[in-house]
Amino acid sequence: MVKKIFANIYIYLILLLMYLPVLLLIVFSFTESANVGNWTGFSWNLYPRLFQDQEIMSALGNTLIIALVSSVVSVVLGTLGAIGTFYLKRRNKRIVEGITNIPVVNAEIVMALSLTVMFVFMGTYIFRKSIFSFYTLLIGHVCLSLPFVYLSVKPKLQQMDPNLYEAAMDLGCTPKRALAKVVIPQIIPGVISGFLLAITLSLDDFIITAFLRGPGLLSGYKSIETLSTLVQAKIKKGPIPPEMRALTTLIFLLILTGVAVTTIYRNQKAKKIKTHSMKRIRYGKF
């Protein structure tokens, strides 16, 4: 009993501490003061101000565009790569997997700098101009998430029944058709989780973006600003800008809704399976 009380207190205390910074921002998103800790009366004004703030809105747009495009590219390349590698000879397979592991363990700053060095090198000796743009940024983000897509698709390929592909071929499918109709549907859960992972990695990234960005997207002729780089530039000079407190609240609500929906969905699914199997037991259909 004592242990249970202690455990509960400990868990909720750590949880509270972990959420404290974010909670602070949320509370102070309902007042217009310049920094947190200074309550100047309740107001909703930060929310309209957030949506009128061109800088934040274009950074948000850039972040979403980069996350989506880089994740789609990663998913296509990574899924095809995982399928192809799965059917390689053992020695080649080990080489490809070894290379795949490099970006997983590599420090982000080393990855960002090595790519920067290469792009500067290419810019000075091959293109004779700076090649930093949306595309270099895209390559950086794909490098970041590609191995994770590969690693989430690979276990699904291993679980797959290899005879199904052969059966499809025997029944007259071309290899491409068999791949599309038999292999892809079986690995789709891995592809989806790889996609989600790629999105979160891209949304959270700072260093690669800071190094590899060039002019483009919603930033026009200026260097592409994402949420991470914008926030970093702001907090280097002072406290988090008031509008960003409102943004944090909205992001938090979005995540909370997402988590709540998936949890409820998962629990209902589990319950359904449970009642279904109970029925089967009752009617002796085993």
Binding site: A7, G81, Y87, N106, M111, L113, V117, L146, I235
Partner: protein, 267 residues
């Protein structure tokens, strides 16, 4: 006969492999090339000699290692009980609580770091008066979820009957913990430690924001060398980082292997 051009499944990995070679392998080779050349592009050990003869650079490295060790230990000490309790169904019904612990990871990490700094500033602790403490707090805040997750997965795999057997055979609670629970959860501890240790050394944003630019970690020093166009020095630092990563990978690998053989031996 078009047999040579026939589609094979393994051809699908060609674009993937080309991408990896172009954007992973070649850049790393370039870093190694720059680390061992001078400004004129000739082979030299200048960057290496420069690094080992500059005490500030070595002290930055040692300092980063020290902060990384402290962060790792703090994260493990705080996260271990959390993971242990959460793995118990009594406290973590439907797995909702573990999701709550992971949720902060989905808020942009620069924003989170800024929020932590603003909180500390509000409480009167900031980069101005306690840069070291502030950095440590920022690191722990950021990496705690990354520690809890692997520990939690390891705890779920704990063999409950073994723990019960230990206490039935007369082990005191402390002995049950040190002799049974701790060794059983060792793989989780190792993977949690690597999740924290490496990113801490190479982090730039957290130390820069939390200490208000007063503490330079190894990651920041790489960043600074490259911003000052000292490519050869910066590349050598990056190479050291790669070597540290490689060593820690070897250690992790060794531990996880040993764990397997120990398990295999007992059964």
């Amino acid at each position: 006969m078009k047999r040579t051009l026939r589609f094979q499944r393994k051809y699908l990995c060609i674009p993937y492999v080309i991408f990896l070679i172009l954007f992973i392998i070649i850049p790393i080779l370039l870093i190694i090339f720059y680390a061992f050349t001078n400004k004129q592009g000739f082979f030299s050990f200048d960057a290496m000699i420069d690094f080992f003869s500059t005490p500030t650079k070595i002290s930055i490295l040692l300092n980063s290692l020290f902060i990384a060790v402290q962060t790792t230990i703090l994260c493990l000490v705080i996260g271990y009980p959390v993971a242990y309790f959460l793995a118990n169904k009594k406290y973590n019904k439907n797995g909702v609580l573990i999701t709550l612990f992971i949720m902060p990871m989905w808020i942009n990490f620069v924003l989170r770091t800024g929020a932590t700094r603003d909180l500390l500033t509000w409480l009167g602790v900031n980069g101005g008066n306690a840069p070291y403490f502030a950095t440590l707090v920022g690191m722990v805040y950021n990496y705690l979820p990354f520690t809890i997750l692997p520990l939690y997965t390891a705890m779920l795999k704990l063999d409950k009957s073994q723990i019960e057997a230990a206490s039935d055979l007369g082990a005191r609670p402390v002995q049950v913990f040190t002799r049974n629970i701790l060794p059983q959860s060792l793989p989780g501890i190792i993977s949690a430690a690597t999740m924290v240790f490496m990113p801490t050394i190479s982090s730039y944003v957290i130390s820069d924001t939390m200490s208000e630019g007063k503490i330079t970690l190894f990651g920041s020093s790489i960043y600074i060398s490259f911003s000052n166009n000292q490519w050869n020095t910066g590349s050598f630092l990056a190479l050291i980082m790669l070597i540290i990563i490689f060593i820690s990978m070897l250690v992790t690998h060794k531990f996880s292997n040993e764990e397997d053989t120990v398990r295999g031996g007992t059964w």
